[in-house]
């Protein structure tokens, strides 16, 4: 076949655009769904950091002693401004923790009565504080343990120091202060919790869009449409290039629309390099288009391709930190994620979106996404050319 002609590529790509817009409602949903997904994730994971009020840990307290001292400890825990605690019975705590409402309970046992007469260096069994927690709330359990330990130690220290100092409250003031600062990257811009969800959900949706494009190509190849196209003066290169072009341009439009909605509704902004964002958007769109070609190349039948794709896309989305920030994932998953294009795409997008990174700082992510795209393209084209050659020899 002669060299690809731009006019024919444009005709083929325009056809795919026509097909995309032919069902207006489907096209509208295609733009709406990533915005809805990102908004939902943003709302779920939003933390009121900007309000300045500390987050209180919901906590249940089971008091198994009727002694005034243990009751005094319990009241001190209830009064602590770092937990939202209430006293319940053990049976009630077991039920509520199992239902994760809330997920943690602390049991102050009868043996805590001995703490009233505790002296430093005393030998013998130490009383045992029991932590009941839902399997999904291990972090909250550690948090509760720390807070309750601090409160109990303060009470003990107060009792011990009482005879020695006139003002125990002043004496028990921590000898140091702590201060937390959020690190935002190159520029000191405020973290927008919706930035993460809009970056992640847009990326995930683009992969699904790439899959749909690949399935369309599979459908065309399995129908007599392909025979007609192949009997026309059009080369396979032109068909594939046009398919990728149409998919990538629609993907680019999807990114633009989703971030525009994110900006208008939740104030999601590009705090870093705008050029970095645009280049990343183009690279990610190309990645989505090549994903489509991969689907068509290795998918086999449409039904088979769809099932495998959903599994792969959800897997790389989860590992790549598109749902939850990657620092929440186990170490081995974080290492594994470096082999995923989604990880680099997410790093790049988040970098320019809320971390305020410049163009130079975005280059590693940009290069990684482009590298993955080139590799996938090489595999997909080699496979599609081989498939076409077999098809021309009569194998289907």
């Amino acid at each position: 076949m002669p060299a690809p002609k731009l006019s024919r590529i444009a005709v083929l790509a325009a056809k795919d655009w026509s097909l995309f817009w032919s069902d207006r409602r489907a096209a509208f949903l295609c733009f709406l769904v990533p915005v809805l997904l990102a908004s939902a994730f943003g709302i779920i994971f939003d933390r009121p950091q900007s309000t300045g009020t500390a987050v209180k840990l919901p906590l249940l307290l089971v008091v198994e002693s009727e002694s005034p001292y243990v009751d005094q400890l319990a009241q001190a825990v209830v009064a602590c401004d770092r937990v939202d605690a209430r006293i319940v019975s053990r049976a009630e705590a077991l039920t509520l923790v199992a239902e994760r409402s809330p997920g943690v309970a602390v049991v102050l046992p009868k043996s805590f009565e001995t703490l009233a007469t505790w002296t430093p260096g005393r030998a013998g069994d130490r009383p045992r504080m029991e932590l009941l927690h839902n399997p999904l709330c291990t972090m909250e359990a550690q948090w509760a343990e720390g807070v309750v330990t601090e409160v109990v130690l303060r009470c003990i220290a107060k009792a011990q120091l009482g005879p020695l100092v006139s003002d125990t409250d002043t004496a028990l003031t921590l000898p140091f202060q702590s201060e937390s600062t959020a690190i935002h990257g190159d520029t000191q811009t405020e973290f927008n919790p919706y930035s993460h969800s809009f970056c992640g959900m847009t990326l995930q949706y683009l992969l699904f869009w790439g899959m749909e494009s690949g399935l369309l190509l599979l459908r065309e190849r399995n129908r007599s449409l392909w025979q007609r196209m192949r009997s026309a003066p059009v080369s396979l290169t032109e068909i594939l290039f046009a398919k990728a072009l149409a998919t990538a341009t629609i993907a680019l439009l999807l990114i633009g629309f989703t971030f525009l909605m994110g900006n208008l509704i939740f104030g999601v902004t590009v705090n870093g390099s705008v050029f970095g964002f645009v280049f990343l958007a183009m690279a990610i769109s190309a990645l989505a288009a090549v994903t489509g070609l991969m689907v068509a190349a290795v998918g086999g039948t449409e039904a088979r391709a769809r099932s495998v794709c959903i599994l792969v896309i959800l897997g790389v989305s989860m590992i790549g930190g598109l749902w939850l920030p990657s620092y929440l994932l186990p170490g081995w998953v974080r290492e594994l994620s470096l082999a995923m294009p989604t990880t680099w795409a997410m790093r790049g997008l988040e970098g320019v979106a809320w971390q305020g990174r410049g163009l130079i700082a975005s280059l590693p992510s940009l290069a990684a996404v482009a590298g993955f795209t080139a590799c996938f393209l090489a595999v997909a084209v080699a496979r599609l050319v081989s498939n076409e050659s077999r098809r021309r020899r009569g194998y289907t």
Partner: protein
């Protein structure tokens, strides 16, 4: 000569789908590729359309092969697949525009050809409607209109009547006859003898990938001068001589049975006798892959 196929061989692994077929299709004629399922019709057509690579042999259109200039070769062919090869989501006119643009048409020329094609396909009033809402007959008309849009000298149709009702089938052949009269060369595949009889000027009979017979309907269905009823057939398997002898005895002196290789000729003094002879031949286990009679005779034989 628009289409010339010489010694075409197409193999699928160990199976030979087309075995040394040669045929020509001239301007102003309709040639039917006739044969049972698996006889190699569609493979021959696909190779002629340039959709299938032959193991050996040549396919040329106006003296030019696909390997010489694929684009020019493709521009000379209008291929009509068996199923409507159309985008259901797009309108009739958008489908025509798209395929016209693929063949390099644009601007006023494209617009006028699309309008002409819609008019010819009797779809002008539905030009803006989605193809998915069309009936089978309308889709088939549009399917053919797409193939004709770039005005190719050669039209290739794969089982064009497979999904049509009798009225749509008649309309399709009326269109094909008009195109033939306009000077197009047309090659179509069918496994219906009657279609080949009344729709085609020449017929090429294929069986198991081999060309069994070819010629005009008149040549192939020549009636003997003595007015006897005659039937031609093709044997699936060669008969042992003793079976053939026994069969001749049972058929009697009034029925002539001629077997040369796989080719069979059966003639009798009238349709009634021929029908009885055919029944006897089939009852004896003779495997006739294809059989044909002069136009209209098949029905007469069947009735008798």
């Amino acid at each position: 000569m628009p289409l010339s196929v010489r010694d075409l061989v197409v193999r699928y692994g160990a199976t030979t789908a087309v075995d040394g077929v040669s045929l020509d299709v001239h301007r102003g004629e309709i040639v039917g590729l006739l044969g049972p399922n698996g006889s190699g019709k569609s493979s021959t057509l696909a190779a002629a359309a340039g959709n299938l690579d032959a193991d050996s042999g040549t396919v040329t259109i106006d003296g030019q092969s696909r390997s010489q200039d694929p684009c020019r070769f493709a521009a000379k062919v209008g291929f009509v697949p068996q199923d409507a090869a159309l985008y259901d989501e797009l309108s009739a006119s958008r489908n025509l525009e798209f395929f016209g643009q693929l063949y390099g048409l644009s601007g006023i020329e494209l617009d006028s050809r699309v309008a002409y094609a819609l008019d010819r396909a009797r779809l002008l009033e539905r030009s803006g409607d989605r193809v998915g809402t069309f009936s089978g007959g309308m889709k088939q008309r549009l399917n053919m209109a797409v193939a004709l849009l770039h005005d190719p000298p050669l039209l290739l149709l794969d089982e064009p009547t497979a999904s049509l009702d009798p009225a749509s089938r008649d309309a399709l052949f009326a269109d094909l006859h008009r195109l033939r009269d306009d000077g197009h060369a047309i090659l179509l595949t069918t496994h219906h003898h009657d279609e080949a009889e009344y729709g085609c000027d020449r017929v090429v009979l294929l069986n198991k990938g081999k060309l069994v017979a070819s010629g005009t309907i008149q040549e192939l269905t020549r009636t003997p001068s003595d007015g006897r009823a005659v039937l031609y057939g093709h044997l699936g398997e060669l008969l042992p001589k003793y079976v053939e002898r026994g069969l001749r005895q049972r058929l009697g002196p009034d029925v002539e049975l001629e077997i040369i290789g796989h080719r069979v000729r059966l003639s009798a003094s009238g349709n009634e006798q021929l029908g009885r002879a055919l029944g006897l031949v089939l009852a004896e286990g003779m495997q006739l892959d294809t059989f044909r009679t002069p136009p209209g005779r098949l029905e007469a034989v069947a009735r008798s």
